[in-house]
Symmetry: C2
Subunit: 233 residues, 2 copies
């Protein structure tokens, strides 16, 4: 019989939303650094490309997550966003207000799934890489949204009611892109593996022109770091 | 050119969660009675049977909803409930606490999808047939859960932020099963079309023994109404 290891606590489990982009890669590295046993969750929601899911798979392997699942979401069928509806043109210059790349209720749907999986896993911690600074146009990237979801989660679920409750971690929420990059490099993130572009090629090469590429590029410049992104041209 | 009908307001749109059961059929009838243009949303979430989706289709036709969509949810893949995991046995007698038929975060996930569709449709109203009296064991059927979701919805979405905001209607939340049945009969619901059983046959016949069948049966008795359910024996 194996001697029980009395000095060792059972692993704290966390579910991490992992899109394969720069922000979620950094968020995963933070959760790993905080000694969570990490379960990564990705979504195929009718994006224009699937190379970000390949990026998520690579990151999950590199960071040694316990399990990585990709769930198919029918959000594309509901339409309403340039990211899931090919009839809406992607913008190549900044716009006022909420951008056309906003996917209706996307973070609500993804967090709801993550909550369901957390409950099955008996994980009480959930990590999401939203950022209120660069993406201030998206309503579901604000701190008040994250707080409201945490309150909901604790009312919605068996774990919230009968156990210790859920915590939603959004460790990047108040950081600039340059600060996120600096933090991630300290934690060993290889940003060449990540895909942020809204219209990346099947091999994960970035267009360099969409909103997401522009923010990312400026982040590397401001961080004073060589941009490792693989661009199309 | 057609003369504009000046006396007529544009239809108020609402999204209705329609499972095909007794409660959601009654909820749809209430929304129709309140003059909403109704968009019904059903989910295939790896239930033990699909006859409730056929029931939802029949109800959507009967009540003349504007559109009915069925979205595939991957909740079954996450496991954790007797309703989506065939390795968990369905109970045939009442139990203490949260029942094994509880599907992790189910109402959170369904409301999140309904919110996404509402936003695409520019619908500001969302109806859900949850009931806190009979199903008090489910944490996501309580009024405080519905209130928390409404707050979240208004922070999460473009419509909540830029427009008039969302309202979540849960008109059955404080009614007994007998009261729901009485209300539905007044509104023309044909309960023979609805399927509540957790293990109904492919033709929609009910077992008569599971939690859901017992609650439904007792509801008809208490309402003093002949039970129109089609049972297996």
């Amino acid at each position: 019989m194996k001697e029980p290891d009395k000095g060792r606590q059972p692993a704290k489990r966390a579910v991490i939303l992992l899109s394969g982009g720069l922000d979620s890669a950094t968020t995963l590295a933070i959760a790993i650094k905080q000694d969570f046993e990490c379960y990564a969750l990705s979504f195929d929601y009718g994006q224009r490309h699937l190379s970000e899911i390949s990026a998520a798979q690579g990151l999950a392997r590199q960071f040694g997550v316990k399990e990585h699942r990709t769930v198919r979401l029918d959000l594309g069928a509901l339409g309403g966003s340039a990211l899931t509806d090919n009839s809406i043109t992607l913008p190549e210059s900044p716009s006022e207000g909420i951008p056309v790349t906003y996917v209706p209720a996307r973070n609500t749907v993804m967090l709801a799934y993550a909550l369901a999986w957390s409950e099955v896993l008996k994980a009480n911690d959930l990590f999401i890489g939203v950022n209120a600074v660069d993406y201030s146009g998206y309503p579901d990237c604000r701190p008040e949204f994250i707080d409201a979801f945490e309150k909901l989660a604790n009312l919605a679920t068996r774990a919230g009611v009968e156990e210790g409750g859920f915590r939603i971690h959004a460790p990047l929420i108040n950081l600039s892109k340059a600060e996120i990059i600096g933090l991630g490099l300290d934690l060993g993130v290889d940003y060449a593996m990540t895909v942020s572009c809204y219209q990346a090629s099947p091999e994960g090469k970035a267009c360099g022109r969409c909103d997401s590429c522009r923010l990312r590029k400026a982040g590397f410049e401001q961080a004073g770091v060589k941009d490792p992104t693989r661009y199309l041209d």
